[in-house]
């Protein structure tokens, strides 16, 4: 039972992460391979605030979200005035740089040795210690995130985003400042990724740079593509599928040094397959 709770907790975290990328890919047409970097910045910032400065859970989540949003805005300001390919490469580069920092700035992040000793969340005097309590808290946060994002996208703001996605030039002609909107979306997207990062840090209570590598970014992209870019339900579906898939490989008793490349190959095949035959994903509306 505890194992099922564990899976549900991980799914909650990844749903937030997948939604955060989907806002970007599915609603502005911007393709980012750096979601794991924002996830990692959030996680490490949250862990370090807790360990070094003794911040309580809520503050150690809120501050990293704001911090990561600022970094997102900075990156967007540099990259968004350039064309699509430049954006993709620069963002990919950002992922590599953040991975480099997490691995090599050993004094701060403990690098490959991993960061230990992150405390459990405590809210309103309640210690979140059992998997059941984690699931309640994280499930609620996940639901709230879903609600906020779907409300946002149904608002006039969201309609402008869809307009930009469908026809950037036309939105510009209608007097919408496209770059301005994209920067806001980038900030929101990095903020939610940081939220997922903080939840990750406080659940596993240890951090390792490998959880925030390019491979992880590719996984998040695969989730969004599989579910369908632009479809929030699709992202939930994609997350459930791709989080449970490695567990299934474990049940089949495949040794981990074989299972890891097989897992990656399946991601690769999914990307190729969906681009060729179903670019809108399982339940999506928008063809990338």
């Amino acid at each position: 039972m505890d194992y099922l709770f564990h899976l549900a907790i991980v799914i909650s975290i990844y749903i937030i992460l997948a939604l955060s990328l989907n806002i970007l890919v599915g609603f502005t047409g911007l393709f980012s391979l750096a979601q794991a970097a924002f996830f990692g910045i959030g996680a490490y910032a949250s862990a370090l605030l807790g360990i070094k400065l003794g911040f309580p859970f809520w503050a150690a989540t809120a501050v990293p979200i704001l911090f990561t949003m600022l970094i997102g805005i900075f990156l967007a300001l540099i990259t968004l005035r350039l064309g699509g390919d430049y954006f993709i490469l620069a963002v990919l580069g950002f992922q590599i740089m953040i991975s480099g920092v997490l691995y090599n700035w050993v004094d701060l992040t403990r690098g490959p040795f991993g960061l230990y000793g992150i405390s459990n969340p405590r809210l309103f005097g309640i210690d979140i210690s059992s998997n059941f309590r984690y699931l309640l808290l994280y499930g609620l946060i996940g639901l709230a995130s879903y609600g906020i994002i779907s409300r946002l996208l149904a608002s006039p703001f969201g309609r402008v985003l869809k307009a930009i996605r469908e026809d950037e030039m036309a939105s510009q002609v209608l007097g919408k400042n496209v770059v301005h909107f994209k920067i806001i979306v980038f900030a929101i997207s990095s903020g939610f990724a940081a939220l997922a990062g903080s939840l990750h840090a406080h659940y596993f209570t240890t951090l390792h740079p490998i959880s925030f590598s390019l491979t992880e970014s590719i996984l998040i992209v695969t989730i969004v593509i599989l579910g369908g870019s632009g479809s929030l339900k699709g992202s939930v579906l994609g997350t459930i599928f791709l989080v449970l898939f490695p567990e299934a490989l474990r049940f089949l008793k495949i040794p981990s040094d074989v299972a890891a490349p097989i897992q990656q190959m399946v991601y690769g095949f999914l990307l190729i397959f969906f681009m060729l035959f179903r670019p809108q994903g399982l339940v999506g509306e928008y063809k990338l």
Binding site: F31, G84, M97, G100, I218, M265, G268, F269
Partner: protein
Amino acid sequence: MFLQLVVNGVVSGAIYALMAVGFALIYNSTHIFHLAHGAVFTLSAYTLFFAVKTLGLPLGLAILTAICLSILLGLAIEAWGYRPLRERKVSLATFLISSLGIFIVVENGLILLFGAIPKLITGEPLKAYRLGPLIVTQLHLAVIVCCLLIFPSLQFFLTRTRIGKMVRALSDHPELATVLGLQTDRIYLFITILGAALAGVAGIFVALDTGVTSVMGWDAVLVAAVAVIIGGVGYLPGAGIAALMVGLIQNLSVLRVSAQWQGTITFGILILFLIIRPKGIFGKIISSRGA
């Protein structure tokens, strides 16, 4: 020490240049952000390892095999990966994701076959020459000689021959090229062969120099992509020169910071360029194609 690092930088820069020019060739004419270029590079390195160590082929034959397989993989990617997408006129992001998928599949397929442990192609004597305080290995000389042969002939080929001119026509104005009756599919195949062969040569050099690792493709293709943008999109020699520059900076940076920061430095250079001079060193116009 400094001069030695310059020599090493020029050599690794020259290898990057092989990758970058191949990437630029494909990128300029198809606008595909060809991440799978890294897969071709990695396949070439593993093929060389397999041919030399397992099959015991002589080095020359092994190199030939590696380049042939690289070209075959390149052609397969073009024919089964990109052409169906091109026919449906999908967005460039679709190509990119597909390319990424192909890269992941090939890379991890190789890991499944050969394991994730780095491989060395030892037994090949690396004769070294001493020039005063400098040490230059035979391989380093081979890299330089190879590049001095390949790049001028490529330039000659693209500017002076009929098919080379067709390649450039297609890069400059694809629709016009089609209207004029150029067989674009054939030209794409041709570019693919050239690009894959260049990546194959680069893979062979890296395999002989530092060995074969499963992640080597990422480093190579990312540096290539960075070099193409720094050099200025649309100008082939620019990509080569920028790649040389990245190789030099990476090697010289060892004087100040540990070698693990190389990836971060590469992209630091890119971001710096994007801020200061987004059209690249030699770029004339900045193209803002949609993703």
